[in-house]
Symmetry: C2
Subunit: 374 residues, 2 copies
Amino acid sequence: MSDRPAQSAAPRELGPTSFQDFVSTEPFPLELGGELPGLTLRYETYGTLLPDKSNAILVPHALSGDHHLAGRYQPDDPKAGWWDHFVGPGKAIDTDRFFVIGVNCIGGCRGSTGPLSIDPRTGQRFGGYFPEITLGDIVRGQRMVVRHLGITKLHAVVGGSMGGMQALLWSGDYPDEVGRIAVLAAGLSQSPMAIALNAASRACVETDPNFRGGHYVPGEGPDTGLAVGRMISHISYLSSAAFDQKFGRTRVPGAQPKDPVFWQVESYLQHQGQAFVKRFDANSWLRITRAVDRFDLTARAAAGRLFRKDGPEILAVGFSSDWLYPTSELRMVVAAATAVGGNAAYLEVVTDAGHDGFLLPDTGLSVRLHAFLG
Amino acid sequence: MSDRPAQSAAPRELGPTSFQDFVSTEPFPLELGGELPGLTLRYETYGTLLPDKSNAILVPHALSGDHHLAGRYQPDDPKAGWWDHFVGPGKAIDTDRFFVIGVNCIGGCRGSTGPLSIDPRTGQRFGGYFPEITLGDIVRGQRMVVRHLGITKLHAVVGGSMGGMQALLWSGDYPDEVGRIAVLAAGLSQSPMAIALNAASRACVETDPNFRGGHYVPGEGPDTGLAVGRMISHISYLSSAAFDQKFGRTRVPGAQPKDPVFWQVESYLQHQGQAFVKRFDANSWLRITRAVDRFDLTARAAAGRLFRKDGPEILAVGFSSDWLYPTSELRMVVAAATAVGGNAAYLEVVTDAGHDGFLLPDTGLSVRLHAFLG
């Protein structure tokens, strides 16, 4: 018998989790110009940081995620954190062994500095005046939290979708500060079709009369536009097979032909849209989707200035039915890294779940990710 | 030398075209219940009907199309009819040999009875009171025009997308009245994901404050919602490769990061949406998209009651990058027809154009369609 937790221990639930705020009063310069007058970043950690601080894994979140990766704040919370399938004791990102960090991104609406925050220069919310940001800004903010925790080199950065883009930026911008990155369901750039889908989603928000150029009072904002905009995005996260399996051509029970919501899939999407409005701010949605649309490392990768021979080890994970970030984009990450002698591998998860596949439990992925993290 | 036009003659432009109205004052019963108090169907024909009336080809239109298939009303019309690439003298559907018919569908807004029409019972526009319709209703209306022209058997029905669904209905409902059907970029049913995309598009219209439950005054309707809804649909008509080729990640010249329209693709989609509003009615959009969503012949095909051994010959044409009606759906049409001994063939057009591929010139398709029509 050993005191050391066995790697083969069955996955267990995390105990109650809690968040903390990192606060900086220093101006934070932004990549596109201007600055934030200060920065609050809400973060959450799981597991124990070793004395030599060598076991930290950062998990940047996707578009609508946050710092609450796993576990519950209260035992009766209806939902655990968004990546609870993968983060926890005995899980792929094993909190018995690793110190795992989630940070709400700059521009977000879950505690970090974003459009809902008060601008100390005016005493008013930033709202529509919140500046345009980039994923580079978001990563630079995360790095301040990592440094604040005394960590100079991360064991790994693991992220899906927008989180995967951030993992790529960590590898490119701070190659000596991260040992390995796992990039799931993302690519070297935001594709034109992905931009198009975000553009349609944003148009829903921006044409809602309550949007008022972004200068709405919280609670009286473009709820309708944001809900419909989220419907569009939600479609892009699934696959045709997922729609077949989840809904088929099932009708809402009792629906009459003239009823505006007739199909189960129609009802589901409307419900998802309305639920999203309760947890997300429209200006945050606009700033973050635009930051994602700006993401483009292709030229840098082609010029040999993104990956390097002795850079972080890379695992790129594609999901077979993901049409928003097709598997070809993940294979391109591996091709670009290996072209300069980098250590990179590709894993394909065969699934009908579409882009959302990275959020769902998958034994093969868990095993592979666990092994990759060492 | 022969007076008969050579089949190998180079394609030529049609002379000036014009439309006509078929008018019935008889009540027109609807599949989902209720009736229209009468029916006007705007149609257009090209070429000459043989004395034995054996050379007629009907071309039902897609969602936003109309009866104006080809040619120009005036020589300086900026655009020819929507299928001018395929319909005309010497073209795939050769108006030197065939009498070609286009009919604006019931529920449309280009001259046929639809929400913009006056309800003779009230003297007011139908508007939001226009009943729910089906593609079966639309086909039954077309058949009245065909009969009115003295035609008892069509040489062929050829249609893409919603037009292809109508071709399938002609084959199933009136197998003795059509010699062959060509089904392009459609399937045996509207898929759940295609419903989802239409649902999001409709939600844009229905949540526009100017929609007023459909009871808007023409010209003061939900233009903004319809434009954004059309953006969504337009995305589904293209492919990721088409977005790459047409727009890439090009920015609007001079656009600043904070500008709401920053990407060329964003600008293009907004332009397309706004242009659509000028030519389409929101209530028509809702009625027709819902008719398409209801389309489902799968159970009938599986039960052997859609196709038959001596039924119309079938050509199913899939477009390799069409993700709205994937090629598997066209192959399924052929499989279902051949399963009962029917005469059916599949043609795949390799293209990056996505669903819109059926609207674009393609030599291979032209040759094959020309041969299929005999």
